[in-house]
């Protein structure tokens, strides 16, 4: 598999001028784990030593040898994405948006602000919307993740929400659309016939910089079978 690079990754020379951008100074290790902490007691737990190893294709420019640590490293995890089990090598600090886009190739999920302040990265985890830029991939092990890629039927038929977004010309530029669609899907699965105000509230965690909010609301109302 070819190495995927994070688009914003700057060349090494630039990094040197960033005083705090330091992947090399991880001396903490985990050798000092309390003896009371037997492995068995971490029933669902993971002690993931932070080895941003050069072997990952994450594009994190981790410098070479680091303290491996003596704790259990569970880097290779199984994720349930859109009903399929995907095996993937995940760093402890990796966000779900990052894993989806740069390790699993699911680029339908967009990274807008990367700070939980725009909603472009919204995915559904166990039926609830989450900002995938602000979710650790390690925390979704054993949970069901749905992205915009998982909505359409096997034969390519669009999900009713997607079709309604098309029919109502919901998006303008389209960058926030996958997140808007996921918020709408989560709303309608819980509340199939929302009022326009309820829809407005449910969609309020997704910013649209084109300002197509009313078009999106029209789309949600159409998807719910109510004329907008």
């Amino acid at each position: 598999m070819p190495a995927l690079r994070y688009p914003d990754t700057a060349p090494e020379s630039t990094a040197a001028s960033r005083p705090n951008f330091d992947f090399t100074n991880n001396k903490a290790g985990i050798q000092a784990v309390n003896p009371n902490l037997t492995r068995r007691r971490f029933i669902k737990g993971v002690i993931a030593s932070s080895v941003a190893a050069a072997s990952t294709n994450a594009g994190l420019r981790a410098a070479g040898a680091q303290d491996q640590g003596s704790g259990t490293v569970e880097r290779l995890v199984s994720l349930n994405i859109n009903g399929r089990v995907r095996r993937v090598d995940v760093l402890p600090q990796e966000t779900l948006a990052y894993t989806l886009r740069y390790k699993l190739g699911l680029t339908g999920t967009k990274i807008g602000c990367n700070r939980g302040e725009c909603g472009a990265c919204t995915v559904i985890i166990d039926g609830v919307t989450n900002y995938s830029c602000s979710t650790l991939t390690q925390s979704v092990r054993g949970r069901a993740v749905r992205t915009v890629e998982g909505l359409q039927a096997a034969d390519g038929t669009l999900h009713p929400v997607q079709q309604a977004f098309v029919d109502e010309l919901g998006p303008q530029c389209g960058f926030c659309t996958p997140g808007q669609v996921m918020s709408a899907v989560a709303l309608l699965e819980e509340n199939p016939r929302p009022t326009r105000e309820e829809a407005r509230q449910a969609m309020s965690g997704n910013i649209c910089r084109c300002g197509a909010y009313d078009h999106y609301l029209n789309s949600v109302m159409r998807a719910s079978g109510q004329s907008s």
Partner: protein, 329 residues
């Protein structure tokens, strides 16, 4: 300082037992960081403005989750999400003040994962501090916000001491009005604190917002039955109705007999480094009729002692109006 989108190198622990989490926290007193919903965490880390070495994710600890009846009141685990609180039938019927406040936090997606504990102990939102500048709160010897050119529209009216940051938590305001207590645990045991001893202003602890010591964790919040089902009022004024923190918020609980106000709690958010209790207002409205006149009288007392900065004078009439609105019929 530039910001970086990539998460830094950090260790992640996901303990399943509270005892294990406390041991880890004790071991990482200086470089550990408790992770709840993480919505206040990742920005700090991505900016490299805080550099913990170990994240201790408490979401797998069932003892920290859920809402249960205790002594006629409620106990809410610190890792309970705001979503669960907003939708809980007992919270809605008896302590609607908390449900309303929790419902105004940030955005739906943040409420879906954000925890009560995380909302209560979140750090100050002063942008000078958030940018990683060496201000008083960060251990330095200057306040950038309270300087001649400082932008301090969001900052404090009361109890500033060198630092002028305000309490950003909506649920803290509501819980202070409900006389809630905070249960704090460490490897040495547990202690229970009322809101006025849990939240700390800059005169007490300038580098933290609470009296939590290193190695301590907020494990639960206990709400007594005292104010169950009473008259409540919550209002938050912010620039946007989503995401933004309160410019001023108010949480009120009051006994009302007929149309006469009895004992009450008036607490404002966004005006001091801690939830700010309006004891003068509480005294003044006691025994008075619930009316616009009472509201006008009380409003005049609300901002007594306020010390406005260059750009936050508007918070004074805002506070007064919120008090007025809480009392009107």
């Amino acid at each position: 300082m530039p910001s970086y989108d990539v998460m830094p190198d950090v260790q992640l622990y996901q303990p399943a037992e509270l005892e294990d989490a406390l041991n880890l926290l004790d071991e990482h007193k200086n470089d550990g960081w408790l992770l709840g919903g993480g919505q206040d965490t990742y920005g700090w880390l991505k900016d490299r403005a805080k550099n913990p070495k170990a994240l201790i994710d408490v979401n797998g600890i069932s003892a920290l989750k859920g809402i249960r009846p205790v002594d006629g009141g409620l106990e809410i685990g610190a890792a309970t999400t705001l979503r669960e609180i907003i939708r809980d039938p007992v919270v809605n019927s008896d302590y609607a003040l908390l449900a309303q406040a929790a419902g105004r936090v940030a955005s739906p997606q943040i409420r879906n994962v954000g925890t009560l504990g995380g909302n209560l102990v979140q750090d100050a939102r002063c942008w000078y501090y958030r940018r990683g500048l060496a201000c008083y709160r960060a251990g330095g010897n200057i306040c950038y916000a309270d300087s001649p050119e400082g932008m301090n529209r969001e900052h404090a009216l009361f109890n500033a001491s060198r630092c002028v940051a305000v309490s950003p938590s909506d649920t803290a305001t509501a819980l202070a009005a409900l006389d809630a207590t905070m249960v704090v645990a460490s490897v040495d045991g547990t202690r229970e604190l009322p809101a006025d001893r849990f939240f700390a202003g800059p005169a007490t602890h300038i580098t933290r917002m609470t009296t939590l010591e290193p190695g301590e964790m907020l494990t639960a919040v206990r709400i007594p039955a005292r104010w169950a089902g009473k008259r409540f009022y919550f209002e938050k004024v912010a620039d946007r109705d989503v995401w933004d923190f309160a410019l001023v918020s108010i949480a009120v609980a009051m006994d009302v007999d007929g149309a006469t106000i009895g004992e009450s709690r008036f607490v404002c958010g966004g005006v001091a480094c801690t939830p700010y209790r309006l004891t003068d207002v509480e005294r003044a409205v006691r025994g008075k009729a619930l009316s616009d006149d009472t509201g006008d009288q009380a409003a005049a007392l609300a901002s007594k002692g306020a010390r406005a900065l260059n750009y936050n004078h508007f918070k004074i009439p805002l506070m007064e109006n919120l008090v007025r609105r809480a009392i009107r019929v």
